[in-house]
Symmetry: C3
Subunit: 139 residues, 3 copies
């Protein structure tokens, strides 16, 4: 069994944002030499997500508004987590809706994707350097 | 390490619906010959889900109403994604709540399930042929 | 390829609660002897979750209130699933928001975690014995 591991670093300049990381994940897969297996891509931080959806700016705008409706940032004092001095309780909720990780099949050395699948890093408490972990296992 | 891959096709006749796909996944597992490992089952389309829950029609009715409350289909013009000519922005949101994929343990050649676990395809933009990917790895 | 499987049992005394299960998962990983691979941790019951987030009581209080707002327990008669004699339809929804499972990379024999990642069992219909499955595969 082969395995390979790499961290990807991101610094989203705003509090929230979505970054298409498919090219970086494909590069890690290529480095791994794995032809058949599974690839795990997960946020290493608990106020961020990795998810698969469409690379369409209108949809990303809709996600932003929708997540803000489900788990609003304000009022900051409305969350007990923020009593610790943080202001990111909402980010811990948005990340649960969008998910921590994706697992993707690797077939013939490629991400085994449907027609529109793309991997995104979803940042909900940005303006600092944060990491995504890519782990590939297989043969 | 063994690996096996198969696509399952679905055509849900309504916009939304839930299909129990456990028997098809069990068949793919049997074909694979894997006795110990992991099986990934994921929607290949970004307006559909694969999830594990109860095969109970009342619950599926509750999910339908609940998801429609969290991410309503109407008004279609309320989503910027729909400016592209689509009317399925809500389906991209419902799919995030229900999830893209499940990973299930394979033990002694079977899906290693609790008492009520069943795998469902969740369709949120149906009336056309769409796919689910099953990938098994193990020994 | 090595594989290892273990069930963890929990009996949360209230209807809802969060339990940090990271130490038990680490123990199963150690027993497995796997150095490089993947570890799957999933609820075996469909009214419970396994998720990764922060071990901070204020946040857990926020999750409790937030999930109750997204999918309220009352009125029990508002859910068709509860016509079956159950009163836990809301638990099936809360579990979808928080997720069934996590997949964690195993690197050099350890859970390959970011700085604050901890694994939780999320109970939404407790006061009885329920199980979590841990499955490790790798080399």
């Amino acid at each position: 069994m082969k395995s390979h591991r790499k961290e990807l670093w991101f610094n989203v300049p705003a509090r929230r944002g979505f970054v298409n990381i498919t090219p970086q994940v494909e590069e890690v897969l290529k480095e791994s030499g794995v032809r058949e297996g599974l690839i795990l891509v997960n946020a290493m931080h608990i106020t961020a997500s990795v998810f698969i959806n469409d690379d369409e700016p209108g949809l990303h705008n809709d996600y932003e508004l929708w997540l803000e409706r489900l788990a609003p940032h304000e009022p900051v004092a409305g969350y007990r987590h923020n009593d610790t001095g943080e202001d990111n309780a909402d980010a811990h909720m948005k990340r649960q809706v969008m998910g921590r990780e994706v697992v993707v099949a690797v077939t013939a050395g490629k991400l085994d994707f449907g027609p529109w699948e793309q991997i995104f890093y979803g940042e909900f408490d940005g303006r600092r350097r944060k990491r995504v972990l890519v782990k590939v296992i297989g043969a």
